[in-house]
């Protein structure tokens, strides 16, 4: 549950993720990720580098901010959901009614 405590804890990370709604920030991040992440702590940078959705979410990232990073890196929502469930995409899709609707 994303509440005010998590929002405060995740603010800096979420601000970075949110900044990927700007084309220049996305391009910088894809070209030189460390430069784009310079305001983040080492812990935060590590989670972003690894695209560790679960760690970021536990840390205080909003799912909707994580989506900006996922879009930037070409990761789909079913891949993220599979990650949260600790499954591969293939395993997760087997649980879905229309696995092709992505």
């Amino acid at each position: 549950m994303f509440d005010l405590e998590r929002s405060a804890k995740g603010l800096r990370l979420n601000r970075f993720l949110h900044s990927l709604t700007q084309r220049e920030k996305r391009e910088l991040f894809l070209r030189d990720p460390e430069a784009a992440m310079k305001n983040l702590s080492e812990e935060e940078r590590g989670m972003v580098r690894r695209l560790d959705w679960k760690a970021m979410q536990d840390y205080g990232a909003s799912f909707f901010c994580l989506e900006k990073l996922a879009r930037t890196k070409g990761v789909t929502n079913p891949e993220m959901v599979a990650h949260f469930r600790g499954e591969t995409l293939e395993q997760f899709l087997k649980t879905r009614r229309v696995p092709g609707a992505r």
């Binding site: 549950m1 994303f2 509440d3 005010l4 929002s7 603010l11 979420n14 601000r15 949110h18 990927l20 709604t21 700007q22 084309r23 996305r26 979410q57 909003s62 799912f63 909707f64 901010c65 989506e67 900006k68 990073l69 996922a70 879009r71 930037t72 929502n77 079913p78 993220m80 959901v81 949260f84 469930r85 997760f92 649980t95 879905r96 009614r97 229309v98 696995p99 092709g100 609707a101 992505r102």
Partner: protein, 276 residues
Amino acid sequence: MARIIGGIGTSHVPTIGVAFDKGRHEDPDWQPLFKGYEPVAKWLAEKKPDVLFFCFNDHATTFFFDHYPTFALGVSDEYRIADEGMGLRPIPRLKGHAKLARHIAKSLVNEEFDLTLFQDLPLDHGLHSPLTMMWPTKPDWPGAVIPLVVNVLQQPLPTPRRCYKLGKAIGRAIRSYPDDLKVAMVGTGGLSHQMIGERAGFNDEKWDREFLDLIERDPERLAAMSIEDFMRLGGNEGAEVIMWLIMRGALDERVKKLHQNYYLPMTTAMAVALFE
């Protein structure tokens, strides 16, 4: 005087917009979704509302957590399309209806709703992923939208009761507008889904069907539930269906559901329903 000619409840899953932009209308995996919107598009084409009053949520696109409103009403004559990390959708800028929006703003603030008012901000898929399923984008949008952005992301969320009351007050505000206008209400979100945590991928078709029944017949019962109830029954992110209560509150006490479609292909139950 302005009239409310009906209401639409709809999911606002971003993939709906992507499927539309990629022209997946005949793709067997998507066709049941597109088919489900056809009666709504037809109703709108026939009834020709001047304004769609859209209750939806921003997805940490335009509004960020450093300054986060509970209810934010747009009062512009135009809205840009927001970039959500993939560039802009190939659709025209949205037309607003500043005059009616200002009238509603005044009416609601005087009825003790503590609105945030915004102008000149871009809008995200929460509004335009369902919109492109119902309204033509060419040569241009056939009418205007009034966006009401609701906090369903950062707890504390507005209570279901507050949403329903807000809808009733919006209904009064629209009906007191002096010019002749036809307005349709749109409530977006849901149905059941959860994107995060161990319960990620959760759905409950049974609850969804019950919700679709109650929103027509007994919205009072939904308004009496808590946010926690909605989260338990429909998933963390599924609780956003409280935005359908705003739409429903603005309609008459008794309405008729003209159409309903339910499709659950992947993570989010995609529904659309039409009320008159």
